[in-house]
Symmetry: C2
Subunit: 245 residues, 2 copies
DNA sequence: GCCGAGAATGAATCCATCC
DNA sequence: AGGATGGATTCATTCTCGG
């Protein structure tokens, strides 16, 4: 297990590889905080099997040229369920008792993910919406203005003196290097329930927002990412000093 | 099918009885907008006297503490699923093509309800949170500050020129005659996607907030309620004139 | 530096066409 | 027949840029 990047002083490690391969080697995790590929993007099978750029970026956008596709986003619901149960179980094995799981998901896969969370051995504790205030409008129906956190714990809840709000409002970020990149403020919210009894793990690191927020909040952190390009981007972001909050 | 209450001029009807008995007699419904009993309590109480842990204790002691929440609700969840599929199917039969379904639910039953909606023949279209702003704070975990709308349609979406927001913020009502009573503003939000091609149906009317909002928005409406006491309360609320919005 | 107008954007969605 | 492709559509918010 050779890290792609390591910052011993801050306790930050990045592994370049598949989460399912790397997870068995990890331990001491207090919080699994991540944003897995949703395998979503449309009611029709054809839509879902599209490349991520075609699925998630509006056709008239110039972003098509500047962002990259990512892989592993084409599972159907049953294999998404099975795959998610696998990485969730792997992450739970790396976690200490009382550890917290926080995973983002969209509305379409939310019910499947809550099943996977429990199948992976976590105690499902709830849902919390991230409100982007206004999604793309939809004539005759509710716009999908939110993404969701599904959260749980390894065994009993490790009660400590934090009271994270059950909903978080924050508009989506303008400048992004990854299609699904989330604002750091959102990730800091997601990290709030994690007790300081170990490190933060993000098995689907992407451009490294989770690790960046973890570092700024004083957590050691481990990231796993399949794409070398994003490993590089994340390493650059993490090489910077702690940011003032 | 004798109505408990009827206002011919406004097209408001209340039936006193069980939804599953009344639904087969109805038709011309453009919107099913309701707030069903969430827990499988009341009529569908499972056998909770079973020691849930005793049934599922595994020899892997590390998993015992993770199982309490997972297994506790299983039986109730399955009967909730079956029962909800029944009334959802019945309501769909009473609905016109393009009709909209809007059902409130809490986080715990949300995944079960999305299954039931599809089992009942509706096209599941999404989720929309109602944020109550102040959930009960919870040490070490996200407060549950939201209830959720699960919505869908009977066949293709009947596009019309409304753009309902995908999230609605409104504090829970102070004065209530029913435990689960929701503010009228919330119900008016829930009614927004319903096209004016028929009536509003609430199979679990309670104190009649849905019908009151429907009347104020110019919809004919049908309510069903098992408890005579709430039939009476709702009839009183509906006897009042249309309220200014 | 502030303000207002105009342009760009969104982990979309749906459908007609084309292979 | 069924999967892949491309275009049209929507508006509150955010961003850009000029005055």
């Amino acid at each position: 297990m050779r890290p792609y990047y390591e910052d011993t002083k801050a306790g930050i490690v990045i592994y370049h590889g598949d989460a399912l391969d790397v997870l068995p080697h990890l331990s001491g995790v207090a919080g699994v905080v991540t944003d897995p590929p949703y395998s979503s993007g449309g009611a029709f099978r054809g839509d879902r099997t599209n490349a991520t750029l075609a699925k998630y970026i509006s056709t008239d956008s110039s972003r098509q040229d500047t962002l990259d596709d990512f892989t592993g986003d084409n599972r159907d619901q049953r294999s998404f369920m099975a795959w998610a149960a696998l990485w969730l179980n792997g992450a739970r094995n790396a976690a200490v008792p009382g550890a917290v799981l926080v995973s983002f998901i969209d509305w379409r896969q939310l019910p499947t993910l809550t099943d996977s969370v429990q199948a992976g051995g976590w105690v499902w504790r709830g849902i919390a919406p991230w409100s982007k205030k206004f999604g793309r409008p939809r004539a005759g129906g509710f716009s999908s203005a939110c993404e969701y956190i599904v959260w749980g714990t390894k065994g009993p809840l490790h009660e400590h003196q934090v009271y994270p709000p059950g909903i978080f409002e924050c508009s989506a970020e303008g400048d992004r290097e990854h299609i699904a990149q989330k604002p750091e403020a959102v990730m800091r919210w997601a990290l709030q329930p994690v007790p300081h009894i170990g490190s933060i793990l993000d098995p689907f690191m992407g451009s490294g927002t989770t690790l960046r927020a973890a570092k700024d909040m004083g957590f050691p952190a481990i990231g796993i990412e399949m794409s070398e390009k994003y490993c590089e981007i994340a390493a650059k972001r993490l090489a910077q000093e702690v940011m003032a909050l």
